[in-house]
Symmetry: C2
Subunit: 182 residues, 2 copies
DNA sequence: AGGTACATGTAACATGTTACATGATTCC
DNA sequence: GGAATCATGTAACATGTTACATGTACCT
């Protein structure tokens, strides 16, 4: 039950249309929750039916025309409830680790190339995050009202840093394995 | 498309019944891929229909009786194919980060208690992993054929370490926020 | 008039979750 | 024979993914 709340948060930050939301889910929100435009349109319909958001009044035809939503009081209340509620930490679900375990059984042929690809991608993502941090949270500025936003970004940086280090180690171990199979 | 391959790997490691698989998914495999028994039974049925696994011959009634599976050559081939194939790194999907972002909009009331809860859980999980590492991969032993298994465990340790550190920082920032709202 | 970008949607399917149903075995 | 445990399964629903359909606005 996270997507509706992600949408409520995004709409509170700024009333938007479905496509605008989709773009925001490809950027900042998507760092920790991704969604396709089909999911978003479906969920916007449900949220409207449930009385948590509404379409801003607009003239003329509907199909193919921009449709802006904003959050109703009931939606804000629901988001407050959800934010304070307890949630179980969901366990990791990472196909790459699964493939490593499979490789332990059926052999590591072809695995290193893909690990190297992942390493490059995570390095690029980490560089992105660090750039955003430098731009939006420069060291001099006394961390003001946006400590929470910074904490979220720090999580992204920490996770990408972990993957870069782990992939580097693992690639090294794997090449030892192949040059010197014990 | 990860669950079928997780099951194939588990069955190659050791032929098992549905319930035995469920238990293994609650332990080691579940560290990076969880599944309920309903998912597992459904997937076992599909894999058998697809000719990738088979039921070991057994006498008597079926319902309520243990049913063991093992992997057919086609299943092994499919697992080899999947292991070597490229896969996109899936982006993070973490409700906790979403809630932090929501809290930046609707307020942080009640959030710190749940962050503290998460911190305790991640600390416990980290302690578990470290114990397993000490037991199964003692420092003296020259890392032999099970480098891959160790790499997977190192990933678990690295991720839990990250969460413990991040939650500690974030809780500190949050309490500053509340005692001294700028 | 044709192409491209913008914008909203439908349909079909795959995967994951929750609740419940049923039979076999063992222990008391 | 009743309770607990082992074991396999069904059904309904929620969520996520993939492919496609349709209309508008603007530029050439």
């Amino acid at each position: 039950m996270s997507l509706p709340h992600a949408i409520l948060t995004a709409l509170l930050e700024k009333p938007s249309s479905g496509l605008e939301l989709t773009r925001r889910f490809d950027k900042s929100i998507g760092f920790f929750w991704s969604a396709t435009h089909q999911q978003i349109y479906r969920e916007l319909g449900r949220l409207e039916t449930a009385g948590l958001i509404r379409t801003l009044p607009q003239p003329g035809p509907v199909r193919g025309q921009k449709k802006e939503y904003d959050v109703l009081p009931a939606g804000r209340a629901e988001l407050e409830r959800w934010t304070a509620a307890a949630g179980e930490p969901k366990s990791i679900r990472e196909p790459l680790l699964l493939r490593l375990r499979a490789a332990a059984v059926v052999g590591t042929a072809g695995l290193d190339a893909d690990l190297a690809r992942h390493l490059a991608l995570h390095r690029a993502q980490l560089a992105d995050y660090l750039e955003i941090e430098q731009r939006d949270f420069p060291p001099g500025r006394a961390a003001g009202e946006n400590r929470l936003q910074h904490a979220v970004l720090r999580a992204g940086i920490g996770l990408e840093t972990f993957w870069v280090e782990w992939l580097t180690e693992t690639l090294a171990a794997l090449s030892m394995e192949q040059s010197n199979p014990s």
